[in-house]
């Protein structure tokens, strides 16, 4: 076996050539996989591989982080996360990264085998959590988390336990309602079959009365227990004077209930309890399915929220470091922030020099070099080297805290939208009441008030918009499922409805249209110098250096590397002294002029708002020019073009330098663009657009950062892109789980297709209702006809709903390629 064809013994992915060990019995793609493999074999858990090969097609390397999780042992954390029981056991719920198949579940539930003191572990694949019961006297929580980490699943404590418990109770209550409605509906149907049989073959009055009374008892039980939510919904809507689908449903259910009861007492006329039971059951099933689908989306978002670190490294007076929860930080404390970590609080750097990425906070794409005395903002990322920060403001007093307050305010301003089904329900009620009144008058004149009331009530009952009531939740849940597979998590179904019509879309630049990271975009001049430059830059942590080091593959070794902060770097490669740095620095150091052939290139780079980096080789005395910057995402141009083709007005609104924004806007052909926009101004821009907006075209915000969060919350639809800040996740209605903006095009398509499915359902349900209403007005409706028409219309609608969003391509590439032809 050679390095090229070797695959990892743990996850089955190819082994990188650098990690291939020719003499080893087993090969691994990464250290994490190796650790996990050894643990599994040492603990008698080899079965994992058998199950995995049987069930899993997705290879994933182990997500081991090697973190020691000591912040989990802090009493402040424990009191909020861990539930202790009287028998000396404790229970904690942890969210796990990388759990995705049956083999993972099997392995995680074998946790007691590898961690003494753990009593049991129950995994939940849908939510990607594990509930661990353990004895705190025998094992620390951090050790539990470490053990899971060593099995290849990075563990994060699940926040918001109380909220989750409440939601769980709600879910159970909902399910119980569905079950009770189902059981009652089934039993009423049995009784009704006897009654319908009696209609045709004859039935003694005693039996007829018995069955009718039983039907009434069960029917009223359906109305007061599971069916109550339609009445409470309708009353709430009436109180706020909003149209809601619950109103016509409640009207039909109430008429059926009252009329059926009266007729049971009178012993003559129709009772409609079988229809009532089945309708309540079907409607509840539809709502429950949508509820479940939406819960899945919000659970996934919750997982991502938990992934952000919530602890900081505190330096105490003796200079010792300790991981503590962020909540315990106070002004005046000193914290250490490692490279790659985000700052836990606003403060001043007291020791160390580093580069700070403020892109999520302000939208600036160019990282800032910061020295002792410079400020650092909570939420910004420390890029290059560890620094000590004296805390000045924490929590709501920090810049990020103030921005979050803005988000909360924006959410309050968000106008609730009237869903299509509810809007129609408004007209529906009026039409039905007019028709019922007309029927009553007409039949009273022909046959007297008793018959008038009977036919009018029959009309109210058979025109119950149940098909419509089922259409929206069913089509939405099918679409939500499809969207999740296409890389979008939709938190509110209303977003799906709004996106169907093209409107105005505000796009953030840094991290949304661009990758949000510095990369090499273009090179000119002597290319032989590039790998030498990469070799030198490998030893630096500056984001530009890392971009250059990553861009050019180089086996060369650099010696005598010497860095001038903020200017450049020198070193020797292959006995040639190499200079890499800003144009000024390199020209000044070499005492030369820029070669004439590179001069126009330099101007072009500056025009494109890229940072020029000059490389000089001493032996060859040649120059190379590298342009680095935050590059446009590969799918950005195609996606914005598709959106424009669909009639969307696009606008770029960024906190970055106007010149950079202009250059990006030019590249993807967007006319309206604004740079240097503050988070507050972004939210105001959305507000202005909404005020001047006439008609129902949606105002959409697409962004990734904390600086976009208020605008995301304020917009009709807020879309947070992959890799965005926690705040943007919370504020947005839609979250893209794939990098790039292509899913937005899909979202628009999915939205349109879903709405057309719902409209089709609506037309069908109107047809059924017209037939039913005509029959009722003609006085031809019987309970049997009602019992047939109503479920059939509902089932037709459910069958059609499975089509929702069907013609939207499930893969990213398909959407783009179909557009570019």
């Amino acid at each position: 076996m050679t390095a090229n064809e070797s695959i990892c013994d743990h996850c089955g992915l190819p082994v990188p050539s650098g990690l291939y060990e020719p003499d080893a019995e087993h090969q691994f793609c990464c250290n994490g996989c190796k650790t996990v493999y050894n643990i599994l074999h040492g603990s008698g858990l080899e079965n994992y591989y058998k199950i995995k090969s049987a069930v899993d097609s997705n290879a994933q390397p182990a997500a081991t982080t090697g973190s020691n999780y000591e912040e989990l042992d802090d009493p402040a954390f424990q009191s909020t996360w861990v539930t202790e029981s009287d028998e000396g056991t404790a229970e904690v719920e942890l969210l796990l990264e990388g759990m995705h198949c049956a083999a993972c579940v099997w392995l995680i539930e074998r946790l007691p085998r590898v961690a003494d003191g753990v009593i049991d572990a129950r995994a939940n694949i849908r939510r990607r959590t594990v509930c661990v019961r353990y004895r705190p006297s025998d094992i620390k929580l951090s050790t539990v988390a470490q053990s899971l980490d060593k099995l290849g699943y990075a563990a994060h404590p699940a926040r918001g336990k109380e909220a989750r418990q409440i939601r769980l109770k709600e879910d159970r209550k909902f399910l119980i309602r569905v079950a009770v409605a189902g059981a009652l509906a089934g039993n009423i149907m049995l009784l009704s079959i006897a009654l319908y049989g009696g209609e045709f073959d004859g039935i003694s009055d005693a039996w007829r009365t018995t069955f009718r009374w039983y039907s009434m008892a069960l029917g009223l039980a359906v109305l007061v227990w599971p069916g109550r939510i339609f009445f409470t919904g309708a009353i709430a809507a009436l109180r706020t004077r909003t149209a809601h689908l619950d109103i016509p449903i409640a009207l039909a259910l109430a008429s059926a209930g009252i009329w059926g009861t009266l007729n049971t007492f009178r012993g003559i006329g129709e009772i409609y309890f079988d229809s009532v039971g089945v309708l309540v059951f079907l409607l509840l099933v539809g709502r429950w399915i949508q509820h479940r689908q939406q819960r899945a989306a919000s659970d996934s978002v919750e997982l991502m929220l938990t992934l952000t670190p919530s602890s900081a490294t505190l330096i105490d007076d003796d200079g010792n470091t300790k991981r503590v929860p962020i909540e315990t930080l106070q002004a005046g404390m000193s914290v250490q922030v490692a490279a790659g970590e985000s700052f836990p609080a606003d403060g001043t750097i007291t020791a160390g020099i580093t580069t700070i990425d403020n892109s999520l906070l302000t939208g600036e794409s160019v990282p800032v070099t910061s020295d002792a005395g410079d400020p650092a903002l909570a939420g910004a990322t420390n890029l290059s080297s560890p620094v000590t920060v004296r805390v000045q403001a924490v929590g709501e007093h920090s810049r990020i805290g103030k921005l979050m307050e803005l988000v909360a305010q924006a959410s309050e301003h968000k106008t609730p939208i009237v869903r299509m089904a509810d809007r129609i329900a408004g007209y529906f009620v009026i039409i039905v009441i007019i028709l019922a009144f007309g029927t009553f008058i007409a039949w009273t004149m022909i046959e007297g008030p008793a018959i008038g009331i009977e036919h009018a009530t029959a009309l109210l009952i058979v025109t119950c918009p149940c098909a419509l009531g089922l259409a929206t939740p069913m089509a939405m849940s099918v679409a939500l499922g499809r969207s999740a597979r296409a890389g979008m998590l939709i938190k509110s179904a209303a977003a799906l409805e709004l996106m169907a019509k093209p409107g105005t879309m505000l796009l953030d630049k840094t991290g949304t249209l661009t990758a949000g990271a510095t990369t090499v975009v273009d090179t000119y001049g002597d290319e032989s110098l590039l790998s030498a430059a990469a070799a030198i830059e490998r030893s630096s942590n500056h984001p530009i250096a890392r971009a250059i080091a990553a861009a050019f593959d180089s086996d060369l070794q650099a010696t005598d590397v010497n860095q001038t902060t903020g200017q450049g770097i020198t070193g020797t490669v292959n006995n040639q002294s190499i200079l890499v740095g800003s144009v000024d620095f390199v020209l000044r150091s070499t005492n030369s002029e820029i070669p004439p052939e590179l001069q126009p290139k330099l101007v072009r780079l500056l025009d494109r708002a890229l940072t020029p980096i000059l490389v000089h080789g001493s032996t060859t005395n040649t120059f190379a020019l590298i342009g680095v910057g935050d590059q446009l995402r590969t799918d950005a141009a195609a996606s914005t073009q598709s959106l424009q083709k669909r009639g969307w007005n696009l606008e770029i609104c960024s906190g970055d330098h106007p010149r950079i924004v202009e250059s990006i806007a030019h590249q993807i052909n967007i006319q309206t663009h604004n740079g240097g926009v503050t988070p507050e101004a972004k939210a105001n821009r959305i507000a202005t657009l909404k005020e001047t907006n006439t008609g129902s075209a949606p105002i959409v915000m697409v962004g990734d950062g904390v600086n976009d969060a208020a605008a995301l919350a304020r917009a009709d639809v807020g879309i947070a892109v992959h890799g965005g800040a926690e705040a943007s996740l919370e504020a947005a209605d839609v979250y893209l789980i794939q990098p790039g903006v292509a899913p937005i095009v899909k979202l628009a398509d999915l939205s349109r297709s879903t709405m057309s499915t719902i409209r089709l359902c609506l037309i069908i349900s109107v047809c059924y209702n017209t037939v039913a209403a005509s029959l009722a007005m003609a006085g031809l409706i019987s309970a049997l006809i009602a019992a047939i028409i109503m479920p059939i219309s509902s089932l037709t609608v459910v069958a059609i709903c499975t089509r929702a969003g069907k013609n939207v391509a499930p893969t990213k590439s398909a959407t783009i390629s179909s557009e570019s032809v």
Partner: protein, 63 residues
């Protein structure tokens, strides 16, 4: 036929018992997770634990 007078309440009572059992199960959280139990069905249940679990424990390793 008069047996029906007894049988209907009996049938309803049985249905009621079923619903009650479901409610108790739902309240105990048996329907909270509808996906993972389906996966557990494929695991073998005749696993024997390792002979010396203490020795093979990883909890005392260095992190």
């Amino acid at each position: 036929m008069s047996v029906v007078y007894i049988m209907i309440p009996v049938a309803l009572l049985l249905a009621g018992l079923g619903v009650a059992a479901f409610i108790i199960a739902a309240k105990k959280g048996q329907f909270d997770d509808l996906d993972t139990p389906a996966l557990r069905a494929i695991f073998d249940d005749d696993e024997t634990p390792p002979e010396h679990p203490k020795e093979k424990s990883i909890t005392n390793d260095d992190a």
